[in-house]
């Protein structure tokens, strides 16, 4: 791999994107028809990119592992989408959204990317309205906003608690239109298992049809990965069970640099785990923190029921530690504060893994009906899962892995270090730095897919030398061979332990040593344990059935095999970063009152890791220059 070239345009921040778009080469309409693009994944980023590329005239081959593109995990985002519309006239602007995102990311993201994100945020809302997304409205008919996730303005647009669902269904409907027009060919129930590189350029993928088991090659002029994040490496997370690292990990093994894998967001408000059977954790929307107050008993020996504990004996720990932001402190800060009080033995509920999220005050002040209107569906969900009525007793919550800021390294054009391989949405690393603010993932997914990639990929297609290649090109045949070998290997181990057992063990290991807080000893021991677990996996995993049929265990085992390799990369990155920033908290680097100590002198860079067969990955650094927002200590106190 050569030097990391971020290709950030020069000049004033405000006009970088406009000037860049003007200087980019275009593909003429006649030539677009001759070009094809593969898009893998149909979440917000993938569906919006595939539909827009189809509309522009490219031929798009679009893949997803679900039975329908409408089921990607973007659908589960609850809270909302940010945009610098300043409809509330409360002092918001593109500049402020940019500033909040840079600061929220703890100065580990690129200024130029984040500014562009803030700029296109307003177009996203307009586009979504045009697509018929039923955003919440005021009585006068205007779009409603709320304040969300650690910011002081109301810039979040929402559709009840189902914003992700509505935005995804909008992008999916746009995709449906392009499928109907013949511009997009959809391949549902298909999983990417390898990439095809020809002359160093990404030219296709190898996929497995999850119904028939057929392994086949698909070639195109460029490949776009929109395959989401890797929170499920922790086994328990708020992600859907199918979310996996396979596509981005395979790309990494083909030379695409992986950036900042240790920046993994732990969301503060999930329902605490209930037992060993637990298959996933359920997120309670962050919007609950607008009205709910977090607290634990002041002393660990206080075993009274929450209603019997008078205010004087309660510790509203976020309000105490962060008086300016209180219960709305950003995710990383809130999660860690929860961990601190639980580690002190003051946690509540089974195993002491939980804190109260209390609505009694807002119910008293504003009435039960107001709370029901705002959060009714979340209270219902909580009741179904725990059997408790949160209108009567406080909710219990505990942090859970939720989102990964790390991802494949991309330049300003969203292209990875492999030419022709573009990466969008959560799968790339670009915009959130070391911590993502609430309601920003939907914004980034749609910004990449609707408004950024469709421009930047055009320049690549217009300027790269791309000969047409058949689906049975030698490189494609070789890639198919690799996939078949691996599938057969999984099926022939015939061991005694299931893939889920290995996954759970790996997850526990990572949660303990590379979770909410990390230290050198823990990371070093994890790096020793992971290879052993991986060896055991390949010696003792049990995958029934055959590769040439519908086989859910085979799909799952393949994903777990990739987690078992990827986990090592995650720990390497966490070990090398001798500082605490954003979601990455190294216990060795904290102030006396437990606040993180960032080290801009040594670590103001993007850590981009390069794969080496059988050896420790190589670190490449992309220095981060802050020309417009001087880094400050991120204080929410």
């Amino acid at each position: 791999m050569t030097r990391l070239d971020s290709k950030i345009p020069s000049g004033p921040l405000e006009s970088k994107w406009d000037r860049h778009r003007f200087s980019e080469k275009l593909v003429s309409p006649n030539n677009k028809r001759k070009l094809s693009v593969i898009v893998v994944g149909t979440g917000l980023a993938g569906a919006s990119a595939a539909s827009t590329l189809g509309q522009l005239g490219y031929h798009v081959e679009c893949f997803c592992f679900h039975d329908s593109p409408r089921r990607a995990h973007s659908i589960a985002a609850q809270g909302g989408i940010n945009a610098a519309k300043n409809y509330q006239d409360d002092g918001d602007s593109v500049g402020r959204l940019f500033y909040d995102t840079i600061k929220g990311g703890d100065f580990r993201s690129r200024e130029a990317n984040v500014y562009r994100l803030a700029q296109v945020s307003t177009q996203i809302i307009d586009q979504c309205v045009a697509l018929g997304i039923p955003f919440a409205r005021e009585y006068g008919g205007q779009l409603a906003n709320r304040s969300f996730g650690g910011v002081q303005v109301s810039r979040t647009f929402y559709c009840r608690g189902q914003t992700g669902q509505q935005l995804l269904l909008g992008a999916y409907s746009a995709l449906c239109w392009q499928i109907e027009r013949g511009q997009v060919t959809m391949h549902p129930r298909t999983e990417l298992l390898d990439l095809i590189l020809v002359d160093g350029q990404a030219r296709g993928i190898v996929s497995r049809d999850l119904v028939t088991g057929r392994i086949s090659a698909h070639t195109a002029h460029a490949v776009v990965l929109a395959t989401g994040g890797y929170s499920n490496v922790y086994y328990l997370s708020t992600n859907a069970n199918g979310c996996n690292v396979t596509a981005t990990y395979r790309a990494w093994k083909h030379g695409a640099a992986f950036a900042n894998p240790c920046f993994t967001q732990i969301h503060p408000t999930a329902i605490p785990p209930g037992g060993a059977h637990q298959a996933k954790l359920t997120l309670m929307s962050e919007s609950l923190r607008n009205d709910g107050r977090l607290w634990v008993p002041k002393v660990s020996s206080d075993h009274r029921l929450p209603g019997d504990i008078p205010p004087i004996d309660r510790d509203y720990f976020l309000e105490r530690r962060y008086p300016r932001f209180g219960n709305l402190a950003p995710r990383d800060i809130a999660s860690r504060a929860v961990k601190v009080v639980c580690d002190e033995g003051r946690g509540v509920g089974p195993g002491g893994q939980g804190v109260y999220l209390d609505f009694s005050e807002v119910i008293e002040q504003q009435g039960l009906e107001v709370v029901r209107e705002r959060y009714g569906n979340l209270f219902d969900m909580y009741h179904r899962i725990t059997g408790e009525d949160a209108y009567q007793v406080p909710m219990r919550i505990y942090p859970a892995p939720h989102y990964t800021m790390g991802g494949l390294w991309v330049d300003y054009n969203l292209m990875s270090t492999v030419p022709g391989l573009f990466v969008i949405g959560e799968a790339n690393f670009a915009d959130h730095g070391a911590n993502r603010l609430g309601a920003s993932s939907l914004m980034q997914g749609l910004a990449d897919g609707y408004f950024i990639l469709p421009y930047t990929i055009g320049h690549y297609l217009a300027t790269a030398k791309l000969l047409s290649i058949p689906d049975d090109h030698a490189e494609a045949r070789e890639a198919i061979q690799r996939v078949e070998t691996r599938v057969n290997r999984l099926l022939t181990v015939k061991g005694r332990r299931t893939a889920a057992m290995f996954h759970r063990e790996l997850g526990t290991l990572l949660w303990n040593h590379c979770g909410m807080s990390r230290n050198e000893g823990g990371l070093t021991s994890a790096l020793q344990s992971i290879p052993k677990l991986r060896e055991e996996f390949w010696r003792d995993v049990m995958v029934p059935g055959s590769g040439s049929a519908f086989n859910q265990e085979l799909e799952y085992a393949g994903r777990v095999a990739d987690y078992l390799e990827f986990a090592e990369l995650l720990c390497h990155d966490a070990l090398h970063r001798h500082e605490s920033c954003g979601a990455h908290f190294r216990e060795e680097y904290q102030t006396e009152d437990g606040e993180p100590r960032r080290d801009d002198g040594r670590f103001a860079y993007v850590a981009a890791w390069q794969y080496r067969d059988g050896a420790v990955p190589v670190l490449h650094k992309e220095p981060l220059a802050f020309e417009f927002v001087p880094p400050t200590m991120r204080s929410y106190q």
Partner: protein, 262 residues
């Protein structure tokens, strides 16, 4: 808790299926229904048997993947939830539970409890969208939409496309699914220009895919995990009737609405 499960097993679309009985042991009341099935599958794997195939993903009731008929009712005994949101405390210890796939001509069984619901996607492709290009949209606040109108559109738009309405209907009709999408878009000003073409195209696609027609018995509404109301079916009928009147004033042989100069 312990349960006796009667589960439909079927190897492939063209093979004969049958019920097989399994025991579910060591179940706790706080387990979800799918976690209970995970436990059964882990035990089957331990005995070298093939696990029961069933579809699931988000496990929080929004992706629409899960799809089980539990004791004869799609998504089980409780209203307004999906199977993944059903918890074992809802069943009494020792109960006998029958688990089947969605059954409808338009949803062929792929394996065990997994069915092919792509027919719903094809209905959507026939017209379940607003034909608007990316870019150049007017400011979101230029189109004023009253709160009540937005809420009605959102009620309809909540559909998760799981297909329970089809599984519950004795005619295997997809009317509630189509009604939800048609009503969502017809309620909003942005969806008005195409409303006549949309409703006709989607209903034609529904017939083509082999779904039946509405039996007016409201089973669909009773099992819908998002409580989508059958009044949207009334709205669908209204839209269809309206389209008939509007279309009679359109050119007699309209070109394909999506034809391009390709």
């Amino acid at each position: 808790m312990k349960f006796t499960l009667n589960i439909w097993r079927q190897n492939g679309p063209h093979e004969r299926g049958r019920f097989i009985t399994y025991e579910a042991q060591d179940v706790s009341p706080g387990m979800s229904f799918l976690e209970m099935l995970d436990g059964v599958n882990q035990r089957l794997l331990g005995n070298g048997e093939e696990p029961v195939a069933f579809e699931q993903d988000c496990r929080e009731g929004i992706c629409g993947s899960c799809s089980l008929v539990i004791n004869g009712i799609p998504h089980g005994p409780d209203q307004g939830i999906t199977t993944c949101q059903l918890y074992m405390r809802r069943f009494s210890d020792g109960a006998f539970i029958t688990i089947e796939p969605w059954r409808a001509k338009a949803f062929p069984i792929l394996k065990d409890l997994v069915v092919d619901r792509s027919a719903l996607d094809r209905i959507m492709q026939a017209g379940g969208y607003i034909s608007v290009n990316t870019g150049g949209a007017v400011d979101g606040n230029v189109i004023l939409i009253g709160k009540d109108q937005a809420e009605t559109a959102m009620d309809a738009a909540s559909c998760i496309g799981c297909g329970a309405c089809v599984a519950a209907c004795k005619n295997a009709s997809a009317m509630l699914f189509v009604a939800a999408k048609v009503s969502h878009l017809a309620t909003l000003p942005q969806g008005r220009p195409e409303r006549a073409r949309r409703v006709s195209a989607m209903l034609e696609a529904m017939d083509r895919e082999g779904f039946g027609s509405c039996g007016n018995q409201y089973e669909c509404e009773a099992v819908c995990p998002k409580n989508i109301s059958t009044r949207f079916i009334a709205n669908l009928n209204h839209e269809y009737l309206r389209a008939g009147i509007v279309e009679s004033s359109l050119p007699s042989e309209p070109e394909s609405p999506h034809a391009e100069s390709s």
